[in-house]
């Protein structure tokens, strides 16, 4: 059983990490706790679902549509909500409350169009074979999710380190004023970040919807809770941290179910979060920054 639980932990960790990547990006660069990330995640899942259902499109096409839709949502989010609030020098909580409103709007639109029931992707869109290796069971999809999480992290890290835009982004994250003085187009970069983060969220939505066989309007909510925990554990704004935090949470949850008891599964996640925050607020893997009071 231990070995299978190990495999379970890795795939759960991959799921969490995938969601957290986009979430942490928005916080790191735009300095906003984007509570609409769960809703964008849901939007991506529905976009892909409808494409697959009505156009009988193959999976890559559906994912592409999801990516475009959620990127669009990210663009709208920045243009209509974040940018105006930046312009008005709003207190830093205001964008967060605005994203609450956005989440409500997106969720109710989805529910209005598609109903509150669980839906699923048409079968055959993805090979559902279970691979059996040495008595361990896992699916193709789980492998893909985990690999994709690593791949995306690598791409993001490379982008941030090696490309000019990436370096500019890090500059903006550090100090928007300094970056502006150096001639960086801060507004454009922030918009691009919002787009990329939402795109990541939407794609995560499709994959996780496939993994769990469930698409429903409130699917983003529990993911958001866990996503917040992951991002804190890994260090806010830290890409590697999102990945490591995701796996850490996945392991913590799976092994607490296996050896403590499934009723305490969420308590373990949040209890850990609480303790980590008290002892090491920059997260288990984050850089020690001036985050303490």
């Amino acid at each position: 059983m231990l070995a299978q639980q190990f495999v379970n932990a890795i795939s759960l960790g991959g799921v969490y990490a995938l969601f957290a990547l986009g979430f942490t990006l928005v916080f790191g660069v735009l300095n906003v706790v984007n509570l609409a990330h769960g809703a964008v995640f849901t939007l991506g899942a529905y976009a892909a679902l409808q494409t697959a259902l009505y156009f009988h499109a193959p999976l890559p096409a559906a994912i592409l549509v999801a990516a475009v839709c959620s990127a669009g949502a990210g663009w709208i989010l920045d243009k209509l909500v974040f940018a105006p609030l930046r312009a008005r020098q709003a207190p830093h909580l205001a964008p967060m409350v605005a994203t609450i409103g956005v989440a409500i709007v997106l969720t109710s639109v989805v529910e209005g169009f598609f109903g509150a029931e669980n839906l699923r992707f048409p079968t055959g869109i993805l090979p559902t074979d279970t691979l059996s290796l040495a008595g361990l069971h896992f699916t193709w999809l789980e492998l893909q999710i985990v690999s994709l999480a690593f791949l995306l992290m690598a791409v993001l890290l490379w982008g941030l380190k090696k490309t000019r835009a990436g370096r500019a982004l890090r500059g903006v994250a550090e100090s928007p004023k300094a970056a502006a003085l150096l001639g960086v187009n801060v507004e454009a970069l922030l918009r691009v970040t919002s787009i990329i983060a939402s795109l990541l969220g939407g794609v995560a939505g499709v994959l996780i919807a496939l993994y769990t066989n469930a698409v429903f309007p409130h699917m983003g909510q529990p993911m958001l809770h866990k996503g917040i925990a992951v991002v804190i554990l890994g260090g806010m704004g830290d890409i590697r941290g999102a990945l490591l935090g995701g796996f850490f949470l996945g392991f913590a949850e799976v092994f607490s179910v296996a050896y403590i008891g499934s009723t305490m599964r969420d308590a373990v996640a949040f209890g850990l979060l609480f303790i980590v925050l008290l002892l090491r607020p920059e997260g288990l893997f984050g850089q020690a920054a001036q985050r303490r009071a």
Partner: protein
């Protein structure tokens, strides 16, 4: 009078909810006014609700005693976790208090034998009337307005502006922060105790993430410049769904849109729109 009777028969729960929501908004106003983003008030509300509810249902204690315990227990817990938690700031504080809230909710859920777990606590006597709620709101407002004017209030504003400077002046910043956190916990617990006694039934899931987010929205929407902002926020969030009832299917959608519009138009909350314009942002509250 007949009109009043029939109005009360239909809308009494709504009016009482406005009252308890105002209390909740006030409980978060204290800490928000200082940039302390604590989201534990939903959990404190839950603790207060369950304490008072269990006392009246199982121990048949008098109402005022139950209300008292319902405020004191969350306040004591706030005292306990406040000290380590308030060392954090910004989003980290928010997340720590959020995590705390989730742990509380799960503990209540699992303590089946005492709290009934997922099945909830049923048959809570209807003891809350307009008098109790009005009295609670009045007292809370009075205390908070008085505080804002007092030395404590001025110290809080100073902490808001520049914590390090205030500390350097010899003031025990930690103690002040703890004070507002504990007071907030007591108010939230009171709100929970009152709420439990006009809704017959409570369950752990009511005091989780959604409630915490709702309380936060009330505080931010109303504005953190003054306790009156909290009042506005509480009233608005409670009445908005009712006012929009005619919209049927579109109600949640319009609810969200209104929220966004308010924040966009007045990021500092509605109170900011209503107060007379000032040229200098001085430290005095009134």
């Amino acid at each position: 009078m007949e009109w009043l009777e029939s109005f009360w028969a239909t809308y009494s729960t709504l009016v009482l909810s406005v009252g308890t929501n105002v209390l909740l908004a006030l409980s978060i106003y204290l800490t928000l006014a200082c940039g302390l983003l604590t989201v534990a008030n939903a959990a404190f509300m839950g603790i207060g609700a369950y304490t008072a509810g269990l006392l009246t249902v199982h121990a048949h204690m008098p109402f005022f005693f139950a209300l008292l315990c319902g405020s004191l227990l969350p306040a004591s817990i706030a005292l306990l976790i406040g000290r380590p938690t308030l060392q954090l700031s910004g989003v980290y504080l928010a997340m720590a208090t959020l995590a705390f809230g989730e742990v509380v909710r799960i503990l209540i859920l699992n303590a089946e034998d005492t709290t009934g777990g997922a099945l909830g606590l049923n048959g809570i006597p209807q003891l809350t009337g307009w008098f109790e709620v009005a009295l609670a709101v009045f007292l809370a407002l009075y205390v908070l307005l008085a505080l804002a004017r007092s030395r404590i209030g001025r110290t809080m504003k100073a902490i808001c502006q520049d914590e390090t400077a205030t500390e350097l002046m010899g003031l025990n910043v930690r103690a002040y922060k703890l004070f507002v956190f504990v007071l907030g916990g007591a108010l939230a617990g009171l709100a929970g105790a009152l709420n439990a006694h006009f809704t017959f039934f409570i369950s752990p899931n009511e005091y989780g993430f959604e409630r915490a987010v709702e309380i936060l929205a009330m505080g931010v929407l109303g504005g953190t410049g003054s306790p009156w902002g909290a009042v506005i926020g509480g009233v608005l969030i409670t009445l908005l769904p009712e006012l929009l009832r005619g919209l049927g299917h579109y109600r949640p959608l319009i609810n969200g849109v209104v929220l966004i519009l308010i924040i966009l138009y007045s990021p500092r909350g509605i109170w900011d729109l209503l107060r007379p314009a000032r040229s200098v942002r001085g430290p005095a509250a009134n």
